[in-house]
């Protein structure tokens, strides 16, 4: 078996690697190249040096989109993980109908973001009208909380599954030992279960953090950045730069924003990985 893997590994590796190279590495390198150029179509480009990057930081909408995205990411990461973990705890106690609950909580994850955005727009606008509050497109605060509700609804189920898997992997002898030593349920949770599910926490915070930071579909369909870009997140801002302005230079600026955006996402997730990894324990 091992011998044949040694012999045939390229057959297993190459298709995936080719797909990765064509679908990711190549466009990525092109993207970096284009961020230093002015272009309408990618076959006719003019080199402009660092000009595009200078313009990125002069653009006030990019900075405000960054702060909106950052606060959204913090709130949604905390809420999603907290609620998902609590539901996972509740659903690992062996109560009746656990499987049905798990399925129900997971279901929203199967619907695409654009569709969810439009559905929630109708729902939330209905509620806001009823309460006599400004609609989603009129008030950035409503838009913000609308996005939070939408993302929680969509992501909690997925994170819950990961937490359930983590909780089920906590060795029962550890739990037994804890109860023999007289630990109450809070102590067991904090001192035994939590350290043991730390790998799940790493994964889940990583996923929610990067998902929230890169959020596009839901932002586009729920608020489309209204009112006047006040609820616009970074990804949508980049899209807007690329398509909503006339003149060749904006494509390059959009591309430069995308590179800055990539660096931000990588930086933030590396910091997060470093901190949560440190807390992981060996079984």
């Amino acid at each position: 078996m091992e011998k044949s893997i040694k012999k045939y590994w390229p057959i297993f590796l190459l298709p995936t690697f080719a797909a990765f190279a064509i679908g990711f590495i190549w466009p990525f390198l092109w993207g970096i190249y284009l961020s230093f150029h002015k272009f309408i179509t990618v076959s006719k480009t003019t080199f402009v040096g660092l000009n595009n990057y200078v313009k990125v930081f002069q653009d006030a909408t990019f900075v405000s989109a960054f702060w909106f995205t950052a606060s959204f990411t913090i709130v949604s990461t905390v809420l999603i993980n907290l609620i998902a973990f609590m539901i996972a705890l509740a659903l690992t106690r062996g109560i009746r109908g656990t499987n049905i609950f798990r399925t129900v909580f997971f279901l929203p994850n199967l619907i695409g973001g654009i569709v969810l955005g439009y559905i929630w727009q109708i729902l939330l606008n209905g509620i806001l009208t009823h309460l006599g509050l400004p609609l989603l497109a009129l008030d950035a605060r409503n838009g913000f909380w609308g996005l939070i509700i939408l993302m929680c609804w969509q992501q909690i189920g997925y994170m819950m599954i990961i937490y359930i898997a983590g909780l089920q992997n906590v060795p029962s002898d550890l739990l037994e030992a804890a109860s023999i030593d007289g630990a109450n349920s809070t102590q067991t949770l904090l001192q035994v279960k939590l350290p043991m599910v730390m790998p799940s926490i790493t994964i889940c915070t990583f996923l929610t953090l990067t998902n929230s930071f890169k959020l596009f579909d839901q932002n586009l369909s729920l608020t489309n950045g209204e009112p006047a870009k006040a609820s616009q997140m970074l990804a949508l801002n980049i899209y807007d730069t690329f398509y909503a302005r006339s003149g060749a230079q904006w494509k390059g600026i959009g591309q430069a924003k995308a590179v800055v955006f990539f660096l931000l996402v990588v930086g933030i997730s590396l910091v997060q990985l470093y901190f949560t990894r440190r807390k992981e324990v060996q079984q």
Partner: protein, 420 residues
């Protein structure tokens, strides 16, 4: 096994050779999804007649620029595409073949329908459209008004206020259908309605485009917008989420009397019957506006791809010439697509059958001055979006009119500077 491989290889080789030797072909990247079926049909007829393959691909609504951007990079790029006017041309000017001297340009009914850059003809308009305030004459008469009497802003406003006050008696929800600011409908106001103050300013200053709009007629813009939002089928605060379909449903369901839209909307509203429909010019309270006609113009220009092979360019021009001169082509464009086509070959039986077009012709015959389309000179999509946001906020009361003025005037200058 080897035989099969050899056969397959041979087949591939033949195919490659066949494509290499294939004659000139036409590839049209169509902008209007409403007319996709008719273009496909026309392409088939042309291929049967001449053997020249014609491919028609239609970009999904709202994605034309994106689709064009990626299609034009391909080894078989579109040979025929379209731009929306001077601002759109700025992006694509290097890709537009000079059409001067072709039959297309010679047949244009007016030089104004050629999109020029210097002496070069970069595009030709292929459809002329008209918009205004579509009115349900049956309901108007029920309320005691005649469409032809409403020939100034003040008379229109008085009628709208009266109709709104008697809405229960008339069995309607409001005078105007909802001015939805959802993206399916907001272009009616941030683009088409915004054309009015721009048109009058250009007229007053004798210009055709500008880098800095003054906003001389923005008070008039406010007047008409106030009318739309306050005498409507719904509360102004709800407009933010109203869609284009909502307005159509209200109008066809006879819940509203006025509906701002254009000739292209005919298919949506024909259930009401041509005899019950007319179109009013959009009055905004400017001196002498009783002589104002409907807004007529185009933002659809055919451009031939200059970087395509010369034989494909020639084939594309030949195809277009066939479309505007042959019986099949003229019938298809004028009757099946319902277009008003600005070529002198479209007369008599090839005039458009659209009743809303007939309304426009009647205004012109009566000596009214059509309002030209100046919105292709708007500096960017972003400018329209910001004006749209400000209009929505003003309607809902979360913003004030000063916000609209800022977005309109300052935004224009800023966007024009950014496009440099």
């Amino acid at each position: 096994m080897k035989k099969i491989v050899a056969l397959v290889l041979a087949a591939v080789l033949c195919l490659a050779l066949a494509t290499a030797c294939a004659d000139a072909s036409v590839y049209y990247l169509n902008f209007k999804p409403e007319q996709d079926a008719q273009w496909q049909e026309l392409a088939k007829v042309y291929t049967e007649k001449t053997g020249v393959p014609v491919t028609v691909v239609t970009a999904a609504s709202g994605t034309y620029e994106t689709t064009l951007m990626s299609e034009i990079e391909k080894s078989e790029p579109p040979t025929l595409f379209q731009v929306n006017g001077p601002v759109g041309l700025a992006n694509w000017t290097d890709y537009c073949y000079d059409l001067a001297g072709t039959e297309l340009v010679k047949h244009l009914t007016s030089d104004a329908f050629a999109l020029k850059s210097g002496e070069e003809v970069k595009g030709v308009a292929y459809v002329i459209e008209t918009y205004g305030i579509i009115a349900n004459t049956k309901l108007l008469e029920k309320a005691g008004y005649k469409a032809e009497d409403l020939n100034t802003f003040d008379k229109l406003a008085a009628a709208a206020a009266d109709i709104q006050a008697r809405k229960a008696e008339l069995g309607i929800d409001g005078a105007f259908t909802s001015a939805g600011m959802d993206s399916s409908s907001d272009w009616r106001f941030k683009t088409h309605l915004a054309n009015m103050p721009i048109y009058y300013e250009y007229q007053a200053d004798g210009i055709g485009t500008t880098k800095a709009i003054k906003g001389t007629y923005l008070d008039n813009y406010k007047k008409i917008w106030d009318l739309y939002i306050n005498y409507a089928t719904c509360e102004p605060a709800l407009l933010a989420s109203k869609t284009g379909n909502d307005a159509v449903a209200e109008f066809v369901g006879e819940k509203g009397v006025f509906y701002q839209n254009g000739t292209w909307a005919w298919n949506d509203i024909k259930a009401l019957g041509a005899e019950n429909l007319t179109m009013l010019p959009i009055y905004i309270g400017v001196e002498g506006e009783e002589n104002q006609g409907l807004c007529t113009g185009t933002e659809n220009y055919w451009c031939v791809n200059a970087i395509a092979d010369q034989e494909d360019i020639d084939a594309t021009i030949a195809f277009l010439e066939w479309v505007i001169t042959s019986e099949e082509g003229r019938k298809c464009m004028s009757q099946d697509m319902g277009f008003v086509v600005p070529f002198d070959t479209f007369t008599g039986e090839y005039a458009s059958a659209n009743p809303l077009v007939a309304v426009d012709a009647a205004y012109t015959a009566a000596g009214k001055t059509p309002v030209s389309w100046n919105f292709p000179t708007m500096p960017s999509e972003n400018w329209k979006n910001m004006v749209g946001s400000a209009l929505t906020a003003y309607a809902a009361g979360t913003g004030d009119w000063a916000g609209v003025v800022t977005a309109f005037v300052d935004g224009w200058a800023a966007e024009a500077a950014l496009a440099e």
